[in-house]
């Protein structure tokens, strides 16, 4: 479960969002400049809300009234950025293992194999990020986030930097992830078609305000 009720002023732009989502995939939908990325960064703890609360999986990670702000690295979230942000000095195997090491988790070969198979990245393990295509990089980034065993997976336009054919290459993996990985996700996109395929709930944002909340049918109503 994810509960968000925050306001945040960023220069001229004010963000005010309030919603509670039980869905497996919460889609944050809106045009560019609607505040989607600021909202997901606030959930990640990269931005600190001016006022309000954020509750992830029953744990209050932000509560301005109580002075609570759990730093990003202790939130046990996974974050897949638009640009994969793989560590260039580590090979793919080390990239995938990074979250496990940082969280002090014991090795879990079964989970490792499941994620590697799910994302079809077994052949890439000994390569360097510089040698990968955009789509491959994004699949590794997904695996890296999953293998840190997050309570919540945040995805900020993970297909945004890919061309149409690459998008179609990745989308089935995301569907499988939703159905098999068992980790709730927040998925940011400005592409209604993408969200119709993936999301179970939609938060619609416009100029920093939530304008609609509900099932995927709000996409049809809103557009």
């Amino acid at each position: 479960m994810l509960r968000v009720d925050i306001t945040k002023q960023l220069g001229e732009f004010s963000l005010a969002a309030s919603f509670t989502s039980e869905g497996r995939v919460t889609g944050l939908f809106g045009a560019s400049g609607s505040g989607k990325t600021s909202l997901i960064n606030t959930i990640a703890g990269l931005l600190r809300p001016d006022r309000g609360t954020i509750v992830i999986d029953g744990e209050t990670v932000d509560d301005t009234a109580a002075g609570i702000h759990v730093p990003t690295w202790r939130r046990r979230i996974g974050y897949v950025f638009q640009d994969a942000r793989l560590f260039p000095h580590l090979d793919i195997r080390q990239n995938l293992d990074y979250g496990r090491r940082m969280n002090g988790l014991t090795e879990d070969p079964a989970q490792h194999k499941r994620v590697v198979d799910l994302l079809d990245i077994g052949a890439l393990l000994d390569r360097r990020p510089g040698k990968l295509s955009g789509g491959e990089r994004q699949r590794v980034a997904l695996g890296r986030a999953l293998l840190s065993k997050p309570r919540l997976l945040l995805l900020d336009e993970p297909l945004g930097a890919l061309d149409e054919s690459r998008k179609l290459e990745i989308l089935p993996y995301l569907v499988r992830l939703r159905d098999e990985a068992g980790v709730p996700m927040v998925y940011v996109s400005h592409d209604a078609a993408e969200l119709r395929q993936l999301a179970t709930q939609i938060v619609m944002l416009r100029r920093g305000q939530v304008t609609a909340f509900g099932g995927v049918k709000v996409l049809t109503a809103g557009v």
């Binding site: 690295w73 560590f87 260039p88 940082m102 969280n103």
Partner: protein
């Protein structure tokens, strides 16, 4: 011409020892300071930045004299260190290392700072979302990615340390076997009649060491850069 006398050997080995120790001891401080200057905002930051660069712009004899006042046997810090820890800098090779470390510090810090500034902060952010505490972000992402700059800074600092003259001779004098480095040996030799040949030998050795350091820096930087670009 190329028979190096025992006195000259002593000076060469001493110079190497002084420069190696100065560089190794200064590097952790240099990295910490470079990180502070590159990544943190705090009160007095420009003052600290200026202080780091001071040895570069002050006359070396002034730096040496200030070291003597501070770290000499009756100096504020030097007296305390001698009484409590038994560490003496005055007229010892350790003092030469201190002088060289201070004089080469700005050259050490600058490349490290630049390379830390060049590390993509989005990668540090990604590390944080994967559960890395700030110090581990530094140890596993920032520092490895800044490694070419760290190596370049170390080599530059070493090259400066091995040639340092003014501050060293002011602080710890020119005692053969204890504080007489290559530079002070050359200085002594060109003041003695018939010292020219020996001086020339040491000059050649200085040039070789300096050029060697620059070549090493270049090789390190290339290797590290290739590694970091994910190839």
């Amino acid at each position: 011409m190329f028979e190096i006398s025992p006195t000259e050997w002593t000076a060469i080995l001493l110079s190497l020892r002084v420069a190696v120790i100065a560089t190794l001891v200064a590097t952790p401080f240099g990295i910490a300071l470079a990180w502070l200057l590159a990544r943190r905002d705090f009160w007095g930051k420009s003052l600290l930045d200026a202080a780091v660069h001071l040895p570069l712009v002050l006359p070396p004899v002034v730096t040496g004299y200030l070291l003597l006042l501070t770290f000499g046997k009756r100096g504020l810090v030097g007296g305390w260190l001698a009484d409590h820890l038994g560490i003496v800098f005055a007229f010892r090779w350790t003092g030469a290392a201190l002088a060289c470390g201070v004089m080469s510090f700005p050259l050490l810090v600058r490349p490290i700072r630049l390379s830390i500034e060049a590390v993509d902060r989005r990668l540090e952010q990604a590390a944080e979302t994967l559960g890395a505490a700030p110090w581990r972000v530094f140890a596993t992402v920032t520092l490895p990615l800044a490694l070419p700059g760290v190596l370049a800074g170390m080599v530059l600092g070493f090259a400066k340390a091995i040639g340092e003259f003014g501050a060293t001779i002011t602080f710890v004098s020119n005692i053969p076997g204890e504080t007489q480095t290559i530079s002070s040996a050359i200085y002594s030799l060109i003041q003695t009649p018939d010292g020219d040949t020996a001086a020339a030998r040491l000059v050649v050795i200085s040039v070789v060491l300096a050029v060697g350091a620059l070549v090493a820096a270049e090789v390190f930087a290339r290797r590290a850069t290739a590694r970091l670009h994910g190839h």
